[in-house]
Symmetry: C3
Subunit: 372 residues, 3 copies
């Protein structure tokens, strides 16, 4: 049984916001690549995107491109999209299906779905070339509740189950591994990636900028669940008694056998390095956050529903999509205003309120990881 905390329980008065450099410095951004994005696991998407052997999609992050595919044995794998001959990017289409192999379009070097080099014109005649030394470079892959995580650091990662131990099994009642994707929307933001995560972790702004969300969710009801480490989260009460949709009603089959509490709450979790998860009784909406530079990010939002939901007559997924799309645009706008402000020389750290205890927790963990 999970126990939750009042947001104020874990809050220390006088905790201050991050200083300017963490939002603006190129040097900090480089350190973040190493200490955050090459250290933690990164969510590439949900497994429902590649249901059949040969299916693939490209996951592009921080200048890297990975081919995420399902192989002949139904195993999900990740390969760097870089030919071992002269480095050419191999796949261009954002998603698709391989038949039996992956071929570079430049000189026709060919790899199996397991990454092995199986064809390279004229290389048979080259003395000393060891084919087994030139497979596509693989990235480690783990699946958690249907989400595909990859590790893009070149060093050996800490095992997923160790880094994220408290998450293992914690959210299994929502059957997220079974869900199917309904829609995906991509947003470009002129804001630092951490501002997006911080904004996700508080509803103190809800009455000011989210009239719709504020109508169906009670921001003062927020309680915290995970309050320390590379995963933070909690929930809000859904005041409509239904779900977080434009009508306040549920719009699809319940995701699982939920208890009374779970049926009346919206849960939110931020999981480093890049997954923001919103769980409702009848759907999941998750964001992947892609840092582009200190002052720019991309956010891709995706909506998941029960695999049988689309067969029901009262399936109205657009009510969930519209709810978050409207809310997202409000959020991204204030993230951009935030970025503009923290770039000013007049910005100095300010006091967090008790409603922002998860942000204080995020900053604390972040600074520790960054070595500060």
């Amino acid at each position: 049984m999970v126990t939750y905390h009042k947001t104020t329980d874990t809050f220390t008065a006088g905790t201050m916001t991050l200083s300017q450099k963490y939002y603006t410095s190129d040097k900090v951004f480089e350190q973040e690549k190493e200490r955050i994005f090459n250290t933690y696991w990164t969510c590439a998407g949900h497994q429902s995107r590649i249901p059949n052997p040969g299916d693939y999609f490209l996951f592009n992050l921080l200048g890297e491109s990975l081919i995420i595919l399902r192989d002949k044995d139904n195993q999900i794998r990740a390969f760097y999209n870089v030919c071992r001959h002269r480095g050419t990017r191999i796949c261009e289409a954002a998603e698709g299906k391989f038949s039996n192999s992956i071929q570079c379009s430049y000189h026709a070097w060919t790899y199996g779905l397991d990454g092995k080099l199986i064809g390279a014109p004229f290389m048979k005649e080259v003395e000393g070339f060891r084919w087994e030394d030139y497979p596509l470079r693989a990235a480690p892959v783990e699946i958690w509740e249907g989400f595909i995580f990859v590790h893009i650091g070149l060093n050996e990662p800490e095992p997923f189950a160790e880094t994220y131990a408290p998450l293992i099994g914690r959210l299994s009642q929502w059957n997220m591994g079974e869900l199917k994707s309904h829609q995906r929307i991509s947003y470009d933001l002129k804001s630092n990636w951490k501002y997006v995560i911080q904004n996700f972790n508080e509803c103190y702004h809800c009455p000011t900028i989210h009239p719709l969300l504020n109508k169906y969710a009670n921001y003062t009801s927020a309680e915290n669940d995970l309050v320390e480490g590379p995963f933070l989260g909690g929930f809000l009460s859904i005041t409509s008694g239904g779900s977080m949709t434009v009508t306040g009603r549920t719009c699809a089959l319940p995701l699982g056998e939920l208890d009374e509490n779970e049926s009346q709450r919206g849960y939110y979790y931020s999981i480093l390095s890049n997954l923001l998860l919103n769980i409702h009784p009848d759907y999941v909406m998750f964001h992947l956050v892609f840092p582009e530079s200190p002052g720019r990010s991309t956010v891709v939002s995706e909506w998941l529903f029960h695999p049988e939901a689309a067969k029901q007559p009262d399936y109205r997924p657009q009510e969930a999509v519209d709810f978050w799309h409207e809310t997202n645009l409000q959020d991204w706008h204030v993230c951009e205003l935030g970025q503009q402000g923290v770039e000013s020389k007049a910005y100095t750290p300010g006091w967090y309120t008790p409603r922002e205890s998860l942000l204080a927790a995020f900053d604390e963990h972040y600074l520790k990881v960054m070595g500060n």
Copy 2:
């Protein structure tokens, strides 16, 4: 009685143009921020833009945004547009009117028109938070002849009346404080900000690039007034006997009780850090220069007229606007050609002519301020 000098009087043969780095180096640009823009006062505009209490406009310079407002006591104030909570930029509209307070759109923190923090949800319950320590950050403000100057350095500025002592009262016969704005035009230039100021300070180029201006003003008549320090200037004779307009006639009420000389001259003053002032018998046209990077600037030009001018039947302000808009485009074009050329490795400093004595004076002061 002011005395003027022949342009050649203050000229030393062999004075050379600035070397390349002053137009191209990022490092020099950073030093300029500190030694010029954070040291001298900066003109934000003319007070006629905010005639009534609550009126404001945003002044955006070098990545900073300032709210320039007129408070309840008719005092003009400048505040950094940065919320003291989490740094959010507060105001977005370029201009507008506050009722009684300034509210951040993110979490509804609220400030009085005097900058004091007067509202912050849930902060009353936070132990140790001193509201009086979190007003909007103010920037020092001075009014000179109706122009609003702010100081954007974080250090204490030298008093305006000291830095610009020779300007105090010097131009009061034109009643510039009473004038009203007629039009404002913004231009983007691919040129260093100093090239714009240098171009402003000589009419040696007038016969080549300004056929219209050259028709109504005699460039060989130029005499210098202020020839040393962060303010330079002089005048040209208006040969049409009227004013500098597309018709050569005056187009509005005279600005003040002008003597015979003043009625037949166009005066020009460049005042560091960013004000370029053109005074004619019947109107003022001023530029604000905004450096964006070593190779880019924005110039905002504005036309001011006698407060009663618009009531006269023969008021034709467009004749003044068209005159300078045409002249401006010619000037900005050569400034861009200048920037392209000085970026070449083939550029080395060249000799100034006697007609460019104010440029030599500008460079001399600039180099001294820059520590060279």
Copy 3:
């Protein structure tokens, strides 16, 4: 008599592609400016572009602009497009004709077609100014087979005939000095300039990406001619028996008295710093490569024909233009994919195949010149 080598003759198994930094590093790019572009001669175009005295065109490379003109004595000269007064860029039009002099549009300083300063308003009265010290800065010029080469380093260049000794007279049977330009096309590429040159030097990719070229030229027939130094090249057999055109037929008069071999081959030469030359029996197509940044280049392709070709009834130059325009687009696309891939941290040098011996030779010379 020139002798050719099988591509494999000059190949050493295990030769690896360049490491990442040579495609991505700003520091390397700066070194290349010094050691390649300021050291070797650079092709500015073909002399047929300025047939008459006074004709000029602008050659813009690496931020520099040069005026390439034909003077009154029919001599081709190159001047930096920078006024010696205040550094203004003088000429703006990409090409045109001077009457007797070159005048700066800013203050009317005027130069002869030999570069001498012949006019400067008010400078006669300036004591100590030596007019002879302020000509337009010249860049050294050499003509080879009709191609205009300039030297854009500020140091004295090694004589052209020394650096490029093996080229002198080697290709004279094609009478390239007499040819006339038919068309010029400019392409922007998101790729390093060396990737363009490397791609030019192998036809190992032809069966994969060039169906049209591969139809009329046999990529396994490639033999190498020059295999060491700042010039590399070889040829392919034209299998159609005609030329490399969209129809496989020749489309214009033969360029010269060619022997049987020369009539059935497409020759290709890459000449540092920037000339890529494709010689066919009936036309020449050459590329000039302009580096813009580590990851961007411009390529300008131009088609030259026999001076009498246009008078023949069976002149169909479009067949040659279309052939290479289609082929160019295919090449530039893989160059961009190559650039994307080598920017990945998953990229490490790979093995060249024996079909890529000229690339190995290019890299070897390049690394030597770069001091590695």
